[in-house]
């Protein structure tokens, strides 16, 4: 059996899209990607069809806006295992109550306080699909007997595509009341517009606190200091790629997604006569589906 496909790419793609649309996408329990064209076992005339349509359906996870809360945490006080970090879970911190607040002098507190700031890198919650259209908000809780004006500087950077990038920063000030159990200093970071839709591999919040009389205080942890990062439930970066006769996808061919987002198609040059296998996989952020395949034969 042969499939007579017209030679113009546009027509091929249109036909492929139609084929995908009519076939539809497999149910949620099925593999998230299917190949509908060419049909398994098809015979295709290479002479009449310099291009072959490859198409199918795909089901991506919905990208629903949400907020991911990262708590500032610290495991211990003044040890090599203090491990200041961000976590999406909260509990009582072993390092709650130790002097993270530093004054204008540099380097107090050893390596943790190096150069008068403390890094809180995320140890979980990654990857994260950042929604840069909304601000990052949060609270640094100041406790202890600190008094007077305190300046809180926060900056956030992230790992995107293996490169460190700046997300944004903010400075906030507050007059501390030493009789209060907590002084919540709110901050707002406007994410860099260049990070729209970015899939974050890592996230770090750098905190610096200074003031004339803040050295007797500390950052309240155990759930009291946090950053709310706007995100999506799943990455907005979606793609489908195919590979001809190569299950390793060493030279992947990108496919075009249909407007509905549930179909895909691409035209490839007809390979040499013989039996061939097309592999297809869907990619959403860092999640790649298990490849699906179909086999067809090209005759002269």
């Amino acid at each position: 059996m042969s499939i007579n496909v017209r030679t113009k790419t546009a027509i091929v793609v249109a036909a492929a899209s139609l084929a995908a649309a009519t076939t539809g996408v497999a149910a949620a329990s099925s593999p998230p990607i299917t190949i509908t064209t060419p049909r398994a076992g098809a015979w295709i005339s290479g002479e009449r069809n310099p291009y072959i349509a490859v198409a199918g359906g795909v089901q991506f996870a919905p990208s629903t806006p949400q907020t991911t809360r990262f708590y500032l945490r610290r495991d211990a006080c003044g040890t090599t295992n203090d491990n200041p970090h961000l976590s999406v879970t909260s509990a009582t911190d072993g390092g709650d109550g130790c002097g993270l607040i530093i004054d204008s002098a540099v380097g107090l507190g050893g390596n943790v306080d190096q150069a008068a700031f403390v890094d809180f890198p995320a140890t979980d919650g990654m990857p994260l699909a950042l929604d840069s259209s909304r601000p990052i908000t949060g609270v640094i809780d100041l406790k202890g007997t600190a008094a007077g004006l305190a300046q809180v500087n926060v900056s956030m950077d992230a790992l995107v595509g293996g490169q460190g990038v700046t997300v944004g920063s903010d400075s906030a000030s507050a007059v501390l009341d030493p009789t209060a159990s907590d002084n919540a200093v709110a901050f707002t970071i406007t994410p860099s517009a260049g990070l729209a839709g970015a899939d974050l591999q890592g996230l770090d919040l750098r905190v610096s606190i200074s003031g004339p009389s803040v050295d007797a205080g500390y950052i309240g942890l155990s759930g009291k200091s946090f950053a709310d990062v706007p995100s999506f439930t799943a990455s907005v970066n979606r793609s489908v790629e195919i590979s001809l006769d190569d299950p390793t996808f060493s030279n992947p061919i990108p496919a075009r997604l249909g407007t509905s987002g549930s179909s895909w198609s691409v035209a490839i040059a007809a390979p040499a006569p013989g039996r061939h296998t097309v592999y297809a996989e869907s990619i959403q952020g860092f999640a790649t589906s298990k490849p699906v395949t179909t086999t067809f034969t090209v005759r002269r």
Partner: protein
């Protein structure tokens, strides 16, 4: 060939008045790159060559006095082979990063590979072109070709373990030479890069160094093919800021890998100018260029300008800084000693923050 007369001549040219080489060859040791806390630590410096050695460098400052040629070969047309030994073996890393390969979760292997590919032809690498070897009375200078990358090998076939010995690293270098079918050993060097959880014993022990380079000869590496220049390149991120993390670029992630290119650049350029690693075999000095306190071009400029993050190192002439590679990307490096700089007095150069008078 190397002759004693050449050595003496070199010493004379260096302007050293009280030259009198030691009668007994010093015990050979690798050429260590100290971490930021051990600059000037005498335990990490080979014995002085002769004469009145200069004192150890002051942390954060260059070590004065120009380098001299000691008669051994240099790498005129260098080729750098990078071996990622065991990075894909079980237990090599204790973490993963979304979107990053499991055998390189921090991107260190990718960064080091890119750096070696990008360093050729840069003004930083050009600092070494003033140095030469003397062959049949002719001075043959180091070249600065656009491509010094010899190849990369992810060796997951030969089992690795923690607390590696120097001998095991030398043996891996020999395996790499066979893997790459290397025949020109004078111009080849092998970087044995180790993954997070499997590193060389001295690095793990806190001896105070970030890396070292050496040269295989039977007394130090029995059973290993002689004449191989190799670098012990531990996973320097394990040592944090003392081996360069965030020492040039600010931001937790932006500067996280700084140490890899700073330390690797130190070692490969030292190997280019002194592939023999100051070894003396049967009275013959195999060393290339270093000063009479035994400091090589990298040692003399290690951690210049480093202030533990208080101020950018590049504000100090010759300080740590980003250079632009031949791929247009930025790579943090340390400067390299240039005899020609500062009107011939010598200074640290090449890191895009030279003193006004440069070579």
């Amino acid at each position: 060939m190397i002759k004693r007369s050449v050595l003496i001549l070199a010493a004379c040219f260096a302007g050293l008045s009280s030259a009198s080489a030691s009668a007994t060859a010093p015990v050979h040791a690798p050429i260590f790159m100290p971490n930021t806390l051990n600059v000037g630590n005498p335990a990490l410096v080979p014995p002085p060559i002769c004469c009145a050695p200069q004192g150890p460098p002051v942390a954060g400052e260059p070590a004065p006095v120009n380098m001299a040629y000691f008669g051994g070969h240099i790498q005129v047309d260098p080729k750098i082979y990078v071996v990622f030994w065991g990075w894909g073996e079980p237990g090599a890393f204790n973490h993963t990063t979304p979107g990053a390969p499991s055998d390189d979760p921090d991107g260190a292997a990718a960064r080091m590979t890119a750096f070696i590919k990008a360093m050729g032809g840069t003004s930083w690498a050009a600092v070494s072109t003033q140095y030469y070897e003397t062959v049949n009375g002719q001075n043959v200078h180091i070249q600065n070709p656009g491509n010094v990358f010899g190849g990369v090998w992810y060796d997951n076939a030969n089992p690795i373990h923690n607390n590696l010995s120097g001998l095991e690293l030398a043996q891996e270098a020999q395996r790499a030479a066979a893997h790459f079918h290397v025949t020109d050993f004078d111009n080849s060097q092998f970087v044995i890069a180790q993954p997070q959880m499997y590193n060389e014993a001295g690095f793990n022990s806190g001896a105070g160094y970030c890396a070292y380079h050496d040269y295989t000869e039977p007394a130090s590496y029995p059973g290993v093919q002689p004449g191989i220049s190799f670098t012990n390149m531990p996973y320097v991120l394990n040592s944090g800021s003392t081996c360069g993390e965030n020492s040039v670029n600010t931001g937790y992630y932006a500067g996280r890998l700084d140490g890899f290119t700073i330390v690797l650049g130190h070692e490969v350029e030292e190997t280019i100018t002194d592939p023999g690693a100051e070894a003396v075999v049967n009275g013959q000095n195999l060393g290339g260029w270093y000063d009479y306190a035994a400091y090589e071009n990298g040692d003399k400029c290690a951690w210049v300008g480093y202030t533990e993050g208080v101020a950018p190192a590049s504000t100090v002439p010759g300080g740590l800084n980003d250079i632009t590679g031949n791929d247009g990307k930025q790579y943090p490096v340390q400067s390299l000693w240039s005899n020609d700089s500062a009107g011939g007095a010598g200074y640290c150069a090449g890191a895009a923050d030279d003193v006004p008078v440069t070579g």
